[in-house]
C-alpha cells in the first residue's frame, strides 16, 4: 500500500521539481490555477481561495516584506490563530529565503521577548491588537527590528508607531513592485534550496528554556512523504487546521502536506467556533492533540449525561454494538454474529448521527499526535465508527510511527513509517539499556538554533538522536510508548511506576480535568493531586442538591471526594500492587498557565507544582486527614491575593473515609 501512495505524491510534477514549499505553491498555481487551495469562514460565510488567489497574496506580501528589508536568512515571528494570513506569511517569508517562528497566540509578552531574542527575529506578523500590543512592548529591547505587520486592524484605529504597518498596506506595496517587475518573485523563490531553514519550532520548555529546533524544507518534504505513505490522504482532501503552527505537527500537515498532498486547508472562524465549523465541513482529514480528542469525547459524554433516559439508552446500545463490531475488527478478531446483525440498525439510529453531529462523518484520516491518549477515548471513537489513529514522533526527529492499515493495537503508537530515499537515509531505531528510544536517518536532526552545545548533547556518541522516551516494541513491531525515561519514577522501595499511564487513564474521567501523580525515591507509595472538572462537577452537584460557592469549596466537598475516590479505585484495579494510587487530595484552585502551573500547551509544570503545594504533599504522606494551605494567586485583572483553604485528603482503598470527613 505504501508504495502506491508514495509514488502518487512523488509522481506529482509540482512536488518532484520543487525544493522548497513556496516553489510547490508556484508550480501548483501554474498547473491548476483554479484549483481550490484554502477556505476560510469569515463574516459567517466560507470564502474560497484558489491556488492563484493564494499565490497572488503570498507574492505580494513577500515583495512587500522584501521592500521592508526582510532577506535571506532572516527570522520572522508569526503570532495569531490559524487564519489564511498566518499561512500566507509563512510561505512569503520562506520564498524570500527566511525562516518563521510561529508562536501560540496566548503566550505572554515575556515569553515572546525570549523567543524573539533567541530566534533573532527581525519582523513580526501579528494577528490583532492583542498581539500587536505584545510586540510593540518588546521591540524596544530588540536589535534591528524591521517592522510589526498586523492583519486584523480592529482596535488599532488610533495606533501610531513607526514600526507598525498593516498587512494590506504591505501587500499593496508588494503588488506595485510585482506590477512593474513581474518576474521578480519567481526569481527570488527559485533560489530556495532544500536545506534552507524553513521553520524554527520551539520545544515547549517543560524542561528548562525552550530551544528552537531547526526544520529545513527537506524535513518538511521528508515528513510529508512519511505520512502520505502511511495514511491514505487523497489529493484534494479537505483538511481542517486547528492545532497551532507553533507545533511542528501542524507545520507538517497544514503547511507542508497542504501543498504537497495537496489538501484543501479549511480555516475555522475562530477557536470557539471550531466544533460548529467541523460539523459544517465534514472534513476528510484532521489532526488533534490527544487532549483535544479527549475534550471531544467528554463533550459527547457530558451531553449524554444531560439527555433523557430513552436517548441515553439508545446511545449506550448503539455504542455497545459499535464497540462489539468495530473495536473487535480493529483488534483483528471476528465480531459476534448478533452484533453484526444489529450493526446496520445501530448505524442508522445512533452511530451515523453521532458522527454527523461531531462533523466526523467523512473523517477517514483522524489522527492524534503528541502524548499518550487514554485507550478508553480511543475505543469510544472507534465504537462510533471513526478510525482514530495515533502518530508518534518528536520535533527533532519528525514523525516516526503511525497506526496504519485496518488492524492495529490501540495501546501502541503504531508501526514505523518509511522515509523517501530522495529526502534522506532510511530511518533506523534502537532501544538503549534504560528503555530509551534512539533514532537516526531521514532528514535528520539539524540542531537547535544557535545552540551547538545543546544540539550535541541531544545526540549519543555514535550520532543517534536520543529521544528520551521509554518505549517497548510488540512482537508485531508496533511501538509502545511507556513514559519519558526521566519520568519513569522509582519509589523508595525500588519499584518503578509509569505516572503518565496513570494520569492519562484518570484524565479520561469526566470529573477530572487534570492531575499529578506523586511518589518518588523518598516515598514508598503513589499518591495524586487532582484538578477537578468544575464544569461537569458543578452540574453534577446541582443535580444532586449539593450547595457550594466557589471552586475551592466544591473541590473539598466529601461527596466530590467520594466520586473521585471511586474513579481512582477503578484505575487502581488495572495496576499492579506497588503502582496503585493510595491517597489523593483535590487542588483548591484551577491550575492556570498564567501562574506558571501549566505550560502554554497545558502540560503540568511538575517541579513548580511540587514546590508550590509542598505543604499539601507532606500532609498526604504523613497521613493527616486534612491540611491548611495558603497559595499566592494572581487574578485575571492582575491583582494579587492569597488563597486560604483547608484541603481534605482521602484514602483511596477506604470507602467510608471520604463520607466521614
Amino acid at each position: 500500500m505504501s508504495d502506491r501512495q508514495q509514488n502518487k505524491s512523488l509522481s506529482d510534477a509540482s512536488v518532484a521539481k520543487s525544493e522548497t514549499l513556496p516553489q510547490i505553491l508556484l508550480a501548483r498555481a501554474q498547473a491548476t490555477p483554479d484549483g481550490l487551495s484554502e477556505r476560510h469562514k469569515r463574516l459567517g460565510i466560507w470564502r474560497e481561495f484558489t491556488w492563484s488567489d493564494v499565490l497572488d497574496r503570498v507574492r505580494a506580501l513577500a515583495l512587500g516584506l522584501e521592500e521592508m528589508g526582510v532577506t535571506r536568512g532572516d527570522t520572522v515571528m508569526l503570532i495569531g490563530e490559524n487564519e489564511p494570513e498566518h499561512f500566507w506569511a509563512e510561505y512569503a517569508v520562506q520564498s524570500l529565503g527566511g525562516a518563521v517562528v510561529s508562536v501560540y497566540p496566548d503566550q505572554t509578552g515575556e515569553e515572546l521577548a525570549f523567543l524573539a531574542k533567541d530566534s533573532k527575529t527581525r519582523l513580526f506578523v501579528a494577528q490583532d491588537q492583542e498581539q500587536v500590543d505584545k510586540c510593540l512592548e518588546i521591540v524596544e529591547d530588540l536589535k534591528d527590528v524591521l517592522g510589526v505587520v498586523f492583519w486584523d486592524g480592529s482596535g488599532l484605529w488610533n495606533y501610531e508607531h513607526p514600526l507598525l504597518k498593516s498587512f494590506d498596506d504591505v501587500t499593496a506595496a508588494g503588488q506595485k513592485i510585482h506590477d512593474s517587475s513581474p518576474g521578480r518573485f519567481a526569481g527570488i523563490a527559485a533560489k530556495g534550496k532544500r536545506d534552507d531553514l524553513a521553520v524554527l519550532s520551539y520545544t515547549s520548555g517543560t524542561t528548562g528554556k525552550p530551544k528552537g529546533v531547526m526544520l529545513s524544507h527537506r524535513y518538511m518534504f521528508d515528513n510529508s512523504t512519511r505520512i502520505l505513505g502511511a495514511v491514505d490522504i487523497q489529493p484534494g482532501a479537505e483538511y481542517l487546521t486547528y492545532i497551532s503552527p507553533a507545533w511542528a505537527t501542524e507545520q507538517m500537515f497544514g503547511l507542508a502536506i497542504g501543498l504537497i498532498g495537496p489538501m484543501v486547508v479549511n480555516f475555522p472562524e475562530g477557536p470557539e467556533e471550531v466544533l460548529d465549523n467541523i460539523r459544517e465541513l465534514a472534513v476528510d482529514a484532521m489532526v488533534f492533540s490527544p487532549r483535544q480528542w479527549e475534550n471531544l469525547a467528554s463533550i459527547v459524554q457530558a451531553r449524554m449525561l444531560g439527555a433523557g433516559p430513552i436517548r441515553r439508552g439508545l446511545y449506550n446500545w448503539g455504542l455497545r454494538i459499535g464497540k462489539a463490531v468495530y473495536v473487535e475488527r480493529l483488534e483483528g478478531r471476528t465480531p459476534p454474529l448478533s452484533a453484526r446483525l444489529q450493526l446496520p440498525f445501530a448505524e442508522a439510529l445512533v452511530l451515523h448521527h453521532l458522527r454527523d453531529n461531531l462533523g466526523l462523518g467523512r473523517a477517514d484520516v483522524a489522527l492524534s499526535g503528541g502524548a499518550l491518549m487514554a485507550p478508553d477515548v480511543f475505543r469510544l471513537f472507534h465504537a462510533m465508527g471513526v478510525k482514530l489513529r495515533n502518530v508518534y514522533g518528536a520535533t527533532e526527529t519528525g514523525l516516526l510511527t503511525a497506526h496504519t492499515g485496518e488492524t492495529y493495537r490501540l495501546e501502541t503508537s503504531g508501526r514505523w513509517m518509511d522515509c523517501d530515499l530522495q529526502y534522506g537515509d532510511p530511518v533506523e531505531h534502537r532501544i538503549a539499556g534504560d528503555g530509551e528510544l534512539q533514532v537516526r536517518g531521514g532528514s535528520g536532526f539539524v540542531g537547535y538554533f544557535d545552540q551547538p552545545e545543546k544540539s550535541a548533547e541531544a545526540l549519543t556518541e555514535d550520532g543517534w538522536y536520543a529521544t528520551g522516551d521509554a518505549v517497548s516494541l510488540t512482537d508485531d513491531g508496533e511501538l509502545v510508548f511507556l513514559d519519558r525515561v526521566k519520568d519513569m519514577r522509582e519509589l523508595s522501595s525500588g519499584h518503578s511506576y509509569p505516572p503518565q499511564f496513570i494520569e492519562t487513564r484518570l484524565r479520561y474521567s469526566p470529573f477530572i480535568k487534570d492531575l499529578m501523580t506523586l511518589g518518588n525515591e523518598t516515598r514508598d507509595f503513589v499518591t495524586a493531586l487532582i484538578n477537578i472538572d468544575m464544569e461537569v462537577l458543578s452540574r453534577w452537584a446541582e443535580e444532586n442538591g449539593i450547595g457550594f460557592s466557589t471552586y475551592t469549596d466544591l473541590s473539598q466537598k466529601p461527596e466530590i471526594h467520594e466520586l473521585i475516590r471511586a474513579e481512582i479505585a477503578r484505575i487502581n484495579s488495572l495496576l499492579p500492587e506497588g503502582s496503585r494510587v493510595m491517597r489523593f487530595a483535590n487542588f483548591p484552585k484551577e491550575l492556570d498557565p498564567d501562574e506558571g502551573e501549566l505550560t502554554r500547551s497545558r502540560k503540568l509544570r511538575r517541579a513548580f507544582l511540587e514546590d508550590r503545594y509542598g505543604g499539601l504533599i507532606e500532609a498526604i504522606y504523613d497521613g493527616s486527614p486534612n491540611t491548611d494551605l495558603e497559595i499566592a494567586v494572581t487574578y485575571q485583572d492582575g491583582r494579587k491575593g492569597i488563597l486560604k483553604a483547608t484541603v481534605n485528603i482521602t484514602n483511596v482503598e477506604d470507602k467510608n473515609q471520604a463520607r466521614a470527613a
Binding site: 469569515r42 463574516l43 480592529s154 482596535g155 484605529w157 488610533n158 460548529d276 485583572d637
Partner: protein
C-alpha cells in the same frame, strides 16, 4: 488588556454640536424630573451622565430619544430642532440607544435581533419581502453582511444563531449594543450599560464602547450609575441631582467638586 486609555486626553476641538438639550423641563404631575437642564454633546466625545437614583438621568435620555416631550425647552440635532418628534423619527435621524435591562426579542436569534436594528434603513415593504426576489433579496444580503460585520466587531460569532433568551446577561447587553450599531447611528445613547454585570463583563463592554467611539467616530452618551466605570472611560462627565445639572467637567474635576461629593456621599 486594552489599548492605552484615551480618557481625558481627547480635547473637545469640535465647534459644531451634534446633539444638545436646551433648558429642558419635564414634569410628571407634581414631580419635576428635569429642571431647566442644558447639555451639549460634542463631536467624538464620550460623555457620561451620572447621578444618584432618581436624579433624572433616564428621563434625560428619554427626552433626547423622543420618548418624552419636555414641557419647556428644546432638543436640537446639529442645530435642527427635533423637540417633540416621534421615537422612530428621531431614530431615523441617527440617534440609537441601548436600554437599561435589554429590550430584545428573546425567542429570536442574535442575528435576527441585530437585523431588527437595520429596520430604519430598509426600503422594501411587507409584500415585497414576502415575495423576496431580485433587489429585495439583494437588499437583505447587504443588511445581513453589515450584521455579520457587527458580530465580528463584538466578537459574538459563537452565539450568532442562539436565541437571545438563552444568553447570559452580559452577552445580551452586547447584542443590544449590536442592535443599536446596526442602525448606523450618528450618536449612541447608552442607558446604564454596566448595571448588573460582573467585573469581567464590565471590562469587556467598556472595551467595546471605546472601540465604537474609535472605529465609528461618533459621540457616545453613557448614562451610568457605576462611578468607577465612568471615571475610567469618559472624556467629560455631567453630574445630575434632583433633575438639575450640578457639575460638568473632566472626570478629575468632577471628582473634586464639593457639590458632587455632597450628592453622592450626603456629606
Amino acid at each position: 488588556m486594552q489599548g492605552p486609555s484615551t480618557a481625558g486626553l481627547v480635547p473637545s476641538r469640535a465647534t459644531s454640536v451634534p446633539l444638545s438639550v436646551r433648558n429642558a423641563t419635564l414634569k410628571f404631575g407634581g414631580v419635576t424630573a428635569l429642571n431647566d437642564v442644558t447639555i451639549e454633546v460634542r463631536n467624538d466625545e464620550l460623555l457620561a451622565v451620572i447621578g444618584p437614583n432618581g436624579a433624572g438621568k433616564t428621563s434625560l435620555l428619554n427626552v433626547t430619544a423622543g420618548f418624552y416631550r419636555p414641557q419647556q425647552g428644546r432638543v436640537e440635532m446639529s442645530g435642527r430642532d427635533i423637540t417633540g418628534k416621534r421615537v422612530d423619527q428621531v431614530a431615523r435621524m441617527g440617534v440609537a440607544r441601548t436600554f437599561q435591562g435589554t429590550h430584545l426579542f428573546a425567542g429570536q436569534t442574535v442575528v435576527e435581533n441585530i437585523l431588527v436594528g437595520r429596520h430604519t434603513l430598509m426600503n422594501s415593504n411587507v409584500l415585497q419581502a414576502f415575495l423576496h426576489f431580485g433587489w429585495v433579496a439583494r437588499e437583505e444580503d447587504e443588511h445581513r453582511e453589515v450584521v455579520e460585520e457587527i458580530i465580528d466587531f463584538l466578537e459574538i460569532e459563537p452565539i450568532r444563531n442562539r436565541p437571545v433568551g438563552t444568553l447570559g446577561y452580559g452577552l445580551r447587553k452586547r447584542v443590544d449594543l449590536g442592535r443599536a450599531l446596526a442602525q448606523e447611528p450618528n450618536i449612541l445613547l447608552m442607558d446604564e450599560p454596566m448595571a448588573g454585570m460582573n467585573s469581567e463583563e464590565k471590562e469587556d463592554l467598556a472595551r467595546f464602547i471605546l472601540d465604537v467611539r474609535e472605529a465609528r467616530n461618533i459621540p457616545v452618551v453613557l448614562v451610568e450609575h457605576d462611578m468607577g466605570v465612568v471615571m475610567d472611560l469618559a472624556d467629560r462627565v455631567v453630574v445630575m441631582d434632583f433633575g438639575s445639572v450640578i457639575a460638568d467637567g473632566t472626570p478629575a474635576e468632577v471628582q473634586r467638586d464639593p457639590a458632587v461629593i455632597k450628592a453622592y456621599l450626603g456629606a
